[in-house]
Assembly symmetry: C2
Homo-oligomer: 258 residues x 2
Amino acid sequence: MNVLIVYAHPEPTSLNGALKDFAMQRLAANGHTVQVSDLYAMGWKPQLDAGDTLEHEAGTPFHPSLDSKRAFAGGWQSPDIAAEQDKLRWADAVVFQFPLWWFSMPAIMKGWVERVYAYGFAYGVGEHSDARWGDRYGEGSMQGKRAMLVVTTGGWDSHYSARGINGPIDDLLFPIQHGVLYYPGFDVLPPFVSYRSSKMDDARFASIRQALGARLDALFDTAPIPYRPQNSGQYEIPALTLRDDIAPGRTGFAAHRE
Amino acid sequence: MNVLIVYAHPEPTSLNGALKDFAMQRLAANGHTVQVSDLYAMGWKPQLDAGDTLEHEAGTPFHPSLDSKRAFAGGWQSPDIAAEQDKLRWADAVVFQFPLWWFSMPAIMKGWVERVYAYGFAYGVGEHSDARWGDRYGEGSMQGKRAMLVVTTGGWDSHYSARGINGPIDDLLFPIQHGVLYYPGFDVLPPFVSYRSSKMDDARFASIRQALGARLDALFDTAPIPYRPQNSGQYEIPALTLRDDIAPGRTGFAAHRE
């Protein structure tokens, strides 16, 4: 199968760099074809702006989504964006690997999402009617592909537990896993999280590598997180609230898991 | 009082641009002194890297937090970072204004956080002991200052409600409000959120402006979100989980509000 690793860390000799190299080798050893988008090494441009649209006329107002729509439809996207979209089309699975900085992905990877996720490609897809609100949340261009986060944190496991001060890791990752990955149709696998990354000795590193290896071996067998598809009848349209008889009384992120 | 607006939108004639201009005028009319960090207009560098540390020796490994610590302590930070830190020191209140892109702040603003929030300035501050785990979550360099998010979304109010498909807006903003703002000590005010930004007519715009004006008029009077201070005795140290007798049985983001 084809696996894309989208990776963000500025230092190749870091823990993240070592885990990325390990993942590449393990996936290749399992017979997969691997491509890596090493965003720092590529000099990826993080900020979405008028320069992303080759035909944008200087001096006219730039509209992030409408310019994206025209550029995607007309073939006028910046070539770096089109190349990443081709990698996504090619991939059967995508691994997003990054250190958790300020409780989210690094800016350079957020900018990858903003620029590569064009209108007509990752959003603004499909019809809007009484029964459907676009192809999203379980449907869309990434349907049939798998995605998994590989994340390191400086904080401890307990700091990210159900009553930990940082908030539960699953909730911190919901805007990414549900909002960035499930939205355009990925099946989202449970994340692989390594805590306390600054206290790493050989034994811990070996144990993390082994656990990551097992997750990569099962990349195409692991059951995805059972988020609720938007157009499955479980949500009112267009309010997009859960129907009263679905998980009655439940609110918040957890309500969107079956 | 001194108010800093940190603002991210690529198009000055956008709704966000108009709201930013309005906020500047309203705050000035109320007698405050206003500075704006217009990140796109400044050409702000989003990605954190070895270039942020003027004394970093080429060819040696770059460590994001340790290099930040040395550069902050030694006065070797990139001047654009030091200038933003001076604005934060100067400010009595900071408004962060941005469109919600993929359920978080734009990459360029995330990169402002990552680069300006140096080790020794916004984290890695204070002693670690049996009773304290650094000056953070209610204590730290920003203690006594106020912060407020001003956010626009394309989606509808109901999509961001308690049972809305995107997740509740308060939970989506928790990684920013609690993780980025409360962490270094800001008092965090309830956010000002404008939904359905692409369906804007004169009447709606006037109503949004009026509501934002009222929030800005009350900037120094509004009660902050009552997050729990880390070193108040409500959390076990070093596990940083809520003590069993505090909000027993409650889990998730909401448990961290008093």
